[in-house]
Amino acid sequence: MSRTKVMNPPVSRFEASPSPLQVYLRFEQGILGTFSIIAVLLIWQGLSTGVFADWLSPLLGDQGASKLWIKPIFISSPTRVVAKTGEMMASGELWEHLSSSGISFILGSTIAIVVGIPLGLAIGWYRKLRYALEPFLLAYNATPQVVFIPLMIIWTGTGMATRVLIIATVTFIPLTMSAWTAVKTADPRLLKVAKSFCSSDYQRFRDIILPTSIPFLLSGLRLGIGRAMVGVVVGEIYAATSGVGYLINVSGSSFQTDSVFVGIAMIALFGLLLTALINSIEKRYAKWRPSGAAK
């Protein structure tokens, strides 16, 4: 034991000035990830400006090399996307789209949460209600819910209400299913004990079912957020006059590829932010999970 202690100082001195290889190994994930992203961006830029075509034309001849130049109208380019983002920020156009999408996202997912979670809990709790609604929910869950969009447009037109409805209809089902699963997997032993001590339905629900269901609800919420983003984009593609989905759609049909990529980047950014938010909430409430449910 004492020997190793003596050996220690040189090791730490060695660590103080690590070799380049050690630095690389420690940050390998970050370095390789960044490298591959930069490589793709460079290739993208190169293809759209025709640099590769210029370089390789002596080898391949002008005819062959010209295939390596893809016009920006098809693929845009990283610099064009950044420039367009700046331009749209300055003109305020981007904020308009973002706020429009944001409002329908918040309204739609709020409705989905308010309807979906209580519905799932109720289905799990009341057997007869479950039997009655099961056929509809299972069929609905197995279907890509976007098929109902044309129907909703017939019902409510192409306004804000339709978009909110579309988001709510695609988002509520994962919430309902996860709340249902939560009640289903509540530890039967705990319920039996509570029953033996003459607890009321309400008490059992509040003290056993609700705490057990938090992690399930959070994973349902994570799925739901993905769905809600699909809802925002699809809803705005079909029925909107502003919003990020509208931006993507209209720019796409008028070959303004730069703007399409600005919209895609915005959606990606929001997805990353929301996922990070859910992750942090999940981490916090993971402690809540009673050991009985984890069995």
Partner: protein, 273 residues
């Protein structure tokens, strides 16, 4: 939840009801729904154009199933689905195995997988249409991208959860990496691959429908969109019904296949949990 506090042995009709309660209530609620829907249509409680009626939809279904156009639509959608889906399995499974077995490959690929997983793939639809036109290939690509991610992630997870004890034994006996891979990693990954394929199906179906609603000249999504645009609600609901049926059948088949391949999952794992 509130199972039989009532311990009297039920007799006759009551027993039959109790044994089949789930079926009886389920079928009853579906029939009730259809009756209310038909009544709402017959007595014009709601504008009949908006909701049509079950009898109307049934008549429209008979007419639709006979028409040659509809067969083309089904064939087109099926073709898009199958090509895109096979491509996503063909690329997703090997890529998942590669990212699972090599740390470096996973570092290189993971930023893109992560971003693609978060962005709804249908966001890319307008660009894909610019690249591939409104024929079947744009939809094939949407299906491919939709199903690729769940298959890839699930396969990756399967490789990562290879039973540590088996791996140790293999190492102790000096098994070559390729042998370890074929005899331990691969069989252990099969159930995970099927789980991924199951999740991929939902995404793939979504891709077909959204892609065709958006821009197509044939296909079941196109059929629904066209019927909707001309306010032929009954015809549109036939299309919706076909999609629901396909979704249900696909889910049922995949559940069975998954269960079948689940037997492969190493027993040790279930002991651990």
């Amino acid at each position: 939840m509130s199972t039989a506090i009532d311990r009297r042995a039920p007799t006759g009709l009551r027993r039959i009801y109790e044994q089949n309660e789930r079926l009886i209530i389920g079928v009853g609620s579906v029939i009730a729904f259809l009756i209310i829907w038909e009544a709402a249509f017959r007595f014009s409680w709601v504008n009949p154009t908006f909701i049509s009626g079950p009898s109307q939809v049934f008549l429209a279904a008979i007419k639709t199933f006979k028409s040659a156009d509809f067969h083309t639509d089904i064939q087109t959608s099926a073709l898009e689905f199958i090509i895109g889906y096979l491509m996503s399995i063909g690329i997703g499974v090997p890529l998942g195995l590669a990212t699972g077995s090599s740390k470096r490959i996973s570092y290189l690929v993971s930023p893109f997988v992560h971003i693609l997983n978060i962005v709804p793939r249908i966001t890319l639809l307008p660009v894909i249409i610019i690249w591939f036109g409104i024929g079947i290939w744009s939809k094939v690509l949407v299906v491919f991208l939709g199903a690729l991610i769940p298959i890839l992630i699930s396969t990756y997870g399967g490789v990562k959860t290879s039973e540590e004890r088996f791996m140790k034994v293999a190492r102790s006996f000096n098994a070559s990496p390729s042998r370890t891979f074929i005899t331990i990693v691969l069989p252990g990954t099969v159930p995970f691959i099927f789980t991924g394929i199951k999740y991929g199906t939902g995404r793939a179906l979504l891709g077909v429908i959204v892609g065709e609603l958006y821009a197509a000249t044939a296909g079941i999504g196109y059929f629904i969109a066209a019927a909707g645009n001309s306010l032929e609600t009954d015809k549109m609901l036939v299309g919706v019904g076909v999609v629901i049926a396909v979704g249900l059948i696909a889910l049922e088949v995949l559940n069975r296949v998954e269960k079948r391949f689940d037997r492969w999952r190493p027993v040790v794992e279930s002991e651990k949990s």
